[in-house]
């Protein structure tokens, strides 16, 4: 159910700003005046160049970083350590654990019995196409397989909000296409909201039900696009190309 009723927001950011001070005293405005509402069940992609504060925005959403301007509200039962999962680009798995016990980690922390968490993890690993790799260590997996395992690890805690920081940035094109398709299918089968950071316009349109375009210095939202294309999405449709050009135009907006 992807109902976007008034009270169903998962995340609301009001006028959020964040400034970092480096050791040498240089201040960098990572984010300024960010207003963003994310509704339950949405798949929001945050699109912007490297250094535009996308990761900071994700960390503020997670509750890892506190904003020093503005405020944010999270929906009911949306809480770090409970129902927010986070998939990073690198170091997404504990290297000392097997693939299976990486997936069971969150359930283990919640005191779920060994048997239940293992059977649930096996099920999830099969869903992300890693059946048979339960005993493999992360270093024995390819980059794409590690991200599959990381997604299974995140889904195991049944998050209501899934945060993803360029999770497919370090894999090759064909693997990325497979992972994108898999992620959309997993999202469609769940009552889960995704906030997905990318610098790839194509990926942002292919995945998102909404694309939020960020500009840099200071990081701020310049425009938002509702993606009204049916899924699975076809890059060859005229509407896809139009959106692509519109978004590219708004990304380079400051220049022309």
């Amino acid at each position: 159910m992807h109902n976007a009723g008034v009270a169903s927001y998962v995340l609301e950011l009001h006028n959020v700003g964040k400034t970092f001070r480096s050791d040498s005293g240089v201040t960098v405005a990572a984010l300024r005046n960010v207003d963003l509402t994310v509704h339950g069940g949405e798949f929001v992609t945050l699109l912007g160049a490297t250094g535009c504060g996308k990761t900071t925005l994700l960390n503020i959403a997670a509750g890892i970083t506190e904003p020093d301007e503005g405020y944010l509200c999270r929906g009911e039962n949306v809480k770090l350590g409970e129902s927010i999962a986070y998939v990073f680009q690198h170091y997404t798995l504990f290297p000392w654990r097997t693939t299976l016990s990486n997936v069971t980690f969150g359930l283990q922390m919640r005191g779920v019995s060994r048997r239940t968490r293992k059977s649930k993890a096996r099920e999830l690993l099969a869903k992300v196409g890693l059946a048979g790799f339960e005993k493999a260590r992360p270093y024995e997996l390819s980059g794409g397989m590690r991200q599959r395992a990381a997604i299974a690890q995140a889904l195991a805690i049944e998050p209501s909000l899934l945060l993803m920081d360029e999770p497919f940035g370090a894999v090759d094109d064909s693997t990325r296409a497979e992972l994108q398709q898999m992620l959309v299918e997993l999202w469609e089968g769940r009552d889960m909201t995704i906030l997905f950071v990318t610098h790839n316009i194509d990926e942002a349109i292919l995945l998102g039900s909404r694309v939020v375009v960020l500009a840099e210095r200071p990081g701020r939202i310049v425009r938002q696009f509702d993606v009204d294309l049916p899924r699975p999405r076809d890059r060859n449709r005229t509407r896809f190309t139009e959106l692509f050009l519109d978004i590219r135009h708004s990304l380079s907006g400051g220049l022309d």
Binding site: F88, L93, F94, M109
Partner: protein, 271 residues
């Protein structure tokens, strides 16, 4: 099959040693290899009032294992705390940095003054058990504890402090409590360094016990037997004891290395 390359030089050494010793003919300074081998072949033979090679080696090993176990528990706990809580590190590190360079043997007079000749069984209310536990003097164990503690502490501390922040974030977002972060994230992440610390610590404990047993006031242990034999000009016993000490040191190191290689196969392969 024993590798021939290792046996030949050893045999050559023994032959040269034997020929030189026979020619020198001063066994109280330089005993022949055969005299030393003869002593090594009789590990249960009683020497003076101080027991056999075997009984004294067991006493030394037991002292080391007790002191080392205490050092491991304290060192890993303190190191994990100091490595993960900056406030604790700032408060404690000045103290440990002053005490660390101090040779553990320098603690012995202080330890004997504090613990007198009290033994481990006495700590639990027994007076005299007539077993080798009566040789577990608290002062000795304390000195071994000091010897093992610092390498374990500093390695654990470095290991925990260098854990990637991502693993902490990952553990926290997946719902780990503060205690669970210690047990399920910091400890396993730092395990390669912790094991390095344990290996260094055990080696140092074995160094320290031999030195401590050679000090005045000691009346048992392989180090004591070595010193006692030296006082009696029994150089064949002295050299045999040196062999045993060296062999056990090598064995302990070998065991620790085996444990390391098996338990942290992921080391250096983080992705």
């Amino acid at each position: 099959m024993a590798p021939l390359g290792a046996v030949v030089p050893l045999l050559a050494l023994l032959v040269v040693w034997q020929m030189a010793a026979v020619r020198l003919d001063r066994p109280w300074i330089f005993p022949p290899a055969t005299a030393v081998l003869e002593q090594l072949a009789h590990p249960l033979r009683e020497h003076y009032a101080s027991g056999s090679f075997f009984s004294n080696t067991v006493i030394s090993l037991l002292r080391v294992l007790i002191g080392f176990a205490l050092a491991a528990v304290a060192g890993i706990t303190m190191g994990t705390l100091m490595g993960s809580v900056p406030f604790v590190r700032r408060a404690v590190e000045p103290i440990t940095e002053i005490l660390r360079p101090l040779c553990p043997i320098a603690w012995l007079p202080f330890a004997i003054a504090v613990f007198k000749l009290r033994t481990l069984p006495q700590l639990f209310g027994f007076t005299y058990t007539r077993t080798l536990w009566d040789q577990m003097q608290l002062g000795m164990i304390f000195v071994i504890f000091v010897g093992g503690f610092f390498p374990i502490l500093t390695n654990t501390l470095d290991g925990v402090a260098s854990v990637r922040r991502n693993y902490l974030l990952l553990a926290r977002t997946l719902g780990a409590s503060k205690r669970q972060v210690f047990v399920h994230m910091y400890l396993p992440a730092a395990m390669p360094m912790i094991l390095t610390g344990l290996r260094q610590g055990l080696g140092l404990c074995w160094f320290v016990i031999i030195a401590a047993e050679m000090m005045i006031g000691s009346d048992s242990g392989i180090g004591y037997l070595l010193m006692y034999a030296s006082d009696n000009s029994a150089m064949d016993l002295v050299i045999a004891a040196m062999f045993i000490i060296g062999a056990i040191g090598a064995l302990l190191n070998f065991l620790m290395r085996g444990i390391m290689q098996r338990s942290v196969s992921w080391k250096g392969k983080e992705v």
